[in-house]
């Protein structure tokens, strides 16, 4: 099967979404109190696949839940019985619509840590069984800088189907992977207007040029990465982190942050063990029994955050651990911008 592109219009796109939702377990951005979160939807009217990045939680929790049960157990003097928890609600075949490229890219980045050495089979199953449909943004939002990073926004392995709203008023639906091709042929679209890569190429390129010209934030990734790797001791980290209240919000909304903690909750004989989000901005993150803490000061924790994102993960897994979505900046209660942090410390 060849890569193909369907050309349609806005109404056709709505039909496409409707067909997807009717035929598949579909997750899409659902609004609540002015913010969007990816939820299981039954009707297109419940969701908005074109929700803005800044107001939308990343799709990460569909692969790495905010708090997941590891197991249930009964521990009494008679012995211990560990039972596996209920079926994984995220493991089935499903489709996500309304993702943006930064979110899709984040999955690729997360794959690296989940698939090295000990393979996280639960994560892997969720990934394999998901069709990722990603919409290319029309223009950058205030804190976006995805085009300034180490990746080609256009070519993402994690993206199965790409949707582009052309400047010509047409909508282009393009398969980007084997899974995507199979999906587009699964009866979710009745459109016969399928054009070749080349025919659609011109308009897609035009849209991309306009999109990439709309960025307020730009930087030279290579030089930032090189500089950061040499300035571990710069006092500038103290300045940029001085307002941080260590609330961890930045990590919780980030599509690539993956640190977690393990905790037990037990009532009488029955307990549950959870795996929940945690963050290196936490004062207790590296606090050891006896009181020793390698990162007792805020600036050391922010340094870890910046370095892990822009140096260490790249060193280890070949990918930058920040995808430039700006979600952390939008959500930070004290307006710390990761873009400004890395630019300022590496000045």
């Amino acid at each position: 099967m060849s890569v193909e592109t369907i050309v349609t219009d806005k109404a056709g796109l709505q039909k496409f979404y409707e067909a997807i939702i009717a035929k598949n377990e579909t997750y899409a951005p659902v609004e609540k109190f002015g913010k969007y979160d990816f939820k299981l939807v039954k009707n297109l009217s419940e969701c908005d696949p074109e929700s803005p990045i800044a107001k939308t939680m990343s799709a990460k929790p569909l692969f790495f839940p905010r708090s997941a049960k590891i197991m249930k157990y009964v521990a009494t003097s008679a012995g211990t019985d560990v039972s596996e928890t209920d079926e994984d609600p995220l493991a089935g075949k499903r489709v996500i619509v309304g993702m943006k490229h930064c979110d899709a890219r984040a999955l690729q980045v997360l794959d690296k840590v989940y698939n090295w050495d000990f393979i996280d089979t639960d994560y892997q199953k969720r990934r394999l069984n998901t069709v990722v449909i990603s919409t290319r943004c029309d223009k950058a939002e205030t804190h976006c800088f995805c085009t300034s990073l180490d990746y080609d926004v256009e070519n993402l392995d994690a993206m199965d189907v790409l949707i582009v709203n052309g400047n010509d008023g047409k909508v282009y639906i393009k398969s980007k992977s084997e899974k995507g091709i199979e999906f587009l042929n699964s009866g979710v679209t009745s459109h016969t207007s399928r054009v070749t890569e080349e025919a659609a190429g011109e308009e897609l390129k035009k849209q991309y040029t306009a999109f990439s010209a709309s960025f307020r934030l730009k930087m030279d990734y290579k030089s930032i990465n090189e500089k950061l790797s040499k300035i571990f001791d710069t006092p500038e980290f103290e300045n940029v982190s001085s307002n941080c209240v260590s609330c961890n919000t930045c990590a919780f909304v980030c599509p690539t942050c993956h640190c977690f903690k393990i905790s037990d909750e037990k009532v009488k004989d029955t307990g549950v063990r959870y795996k929940s989000y945690d963050s290196c901005n936490n004062g207790y993150f590296t606090l050891m029994a006896g009181g020793h803490n390698p990162r007792p000061a805020k600036y050391r924790r922010w340094r870890q955050r910046a370095m892990h994102k822009f140096v260490y993960y790249k060193e280890r897994f070949g990918e930058n651990l920040c995808v430039g979505c700006g979600k952390c900046t939008t959500s930070c209660p004290v307006n710390i911008s990761i873009f400004e942090v890395i630019n300022q410390v590496s000045k």
Binding site: A68, K69, I70, M71, Y73, A75, G79, T80, V82, E84, T85, D86, E87, D88, V113, Y114, W116, D117, F118, D120, T121, D122, F232, H258, C259, F260, K261, I262, S263, D264, K266, G271, R273, K275, D278, C280, F285, T286, L287, M288, A289, G290, H292, P294, R295, R300, Q304, M307, H308, V311, Y312, Y313, E315, R316
Partner: protein
């Protein structure tokens, strides 16, 4: 469900009160046949859970050459370890995940003189290797163990140390920080005894050391002063851990996962890490 993090159940076979705040738990897997399949290398660790209280990282303190069980020696240090000491006794059940982490470089130390330098509970990871090397004694040349504790009561493995002392092929040197009545061995901190009493041969010797951070720091300084090369000094690093298997990010120093690339490092490797600990 998060299968990677689900522990296997072990039964506590025996508890040994080593010191006022250290207990050794001898463990066996509950499921038939699992113990035989559980293989580990000296230096590796497990995630030990007291269900309902939490999970902690402990090295395996015994050698795989001693079949049918494994030991964890646990110092009361915080919330979970206090619960372990209070609640867990013979016959009780605990959760175990592992073995995790790297191990002592067995190939590199083969055919060498071995010098073990331990302090307090830091003898636990060394004991796994000491037992392993005793059980393969012919593979090594001189075999010296220097062990220090704050007081004589704080020495772990007292019975086993007696066996080591009786073993003519081992040299055992003990020290405590301050003089005590009826203590006939050395008095003084480990680095001092190392320099003044042990006076180790440098050529062809590998040093394996573990103890409280402050002891390791000064021991390494002494070793370097004595003329040891960074690559011949081997230690195990303690960083806060949670998953133990390279996912949770807790143990990271730079791009190193202490739980996967470590906990065993040579001083040469440690020097290359960002100065964070």
């Amino acid at each position: 469900m998060e299968q990677l993090l689900v522990p296997m159940i072990c039964k506590i076979d025996k508890v040994i009160q080593e010191t006022p705040d250290v207990r050794t738990y001898r463990l066996k897997f509950k499921e038939e046949g699992l113990m035989e399949k559980f293989n580990w290398m000296p230096g590796q660790f497990v995630e030990f859970s007291l269900l309902g209280s939490g999970e902690c990282t402990f090295c395996i303190a015994s050698s795989v050459t001693r079949k049918g069980y494994f030991d964890c020696s646990i110092k009361r240090a915080g919330v979970v370890t206090a619960d372990i000491h209070t609640l867990l006794d013979e016959g009780d059940e605990v959760g175990i995940r592992g073995p995790y982490g790297n191990w002592f470089p067995l190939d590199d130390i083969k055919g060498k003189n071995l010098l073990f330098v331990g302090g307090g509970i830091g003898l636990a990871p060394l004991r796994s290797l000491i037992q392993y090397c005793i059980d393969n004694r012919n593979d090594y040349k001189d075999f010296t163990i220097l062990y220090g504790a704050r007081t004589s009561a704080d020495m772990c493995y007292k019975e086993e140390i007696k066996e080591w002392q009786e073993n003519k092929s081992l040299k055992v040197i003990l020290t405590i920080d301050r003089p005590e009545e009826s203590w006939t061995s050395n008095v003084g901190v480990v680095p001092k005894i190392l320099e003044e009493v042990v006076k180790p041969e440098i050529a062809n010797t590998k040093v394996i050391t573990c103890g409280p951070p402050i002891m390791i720091k000064y021991t390494i300084q002494s070793l370097l002063k004595l003329g040891f090369a960074d690559k011949d000094i081997i230690t195990t690093l303690e960083m806060k851990m949670q998953c133990g298997l390279g996912k949770c990010g807790r143990c990271n120093i730079g791009s190193t996962y202490v739980c996967k690339d470590g906990p065993v490092f040579t001083n040469e490797q440690l020097k290359k890490l960002p100065d964070e600990f």
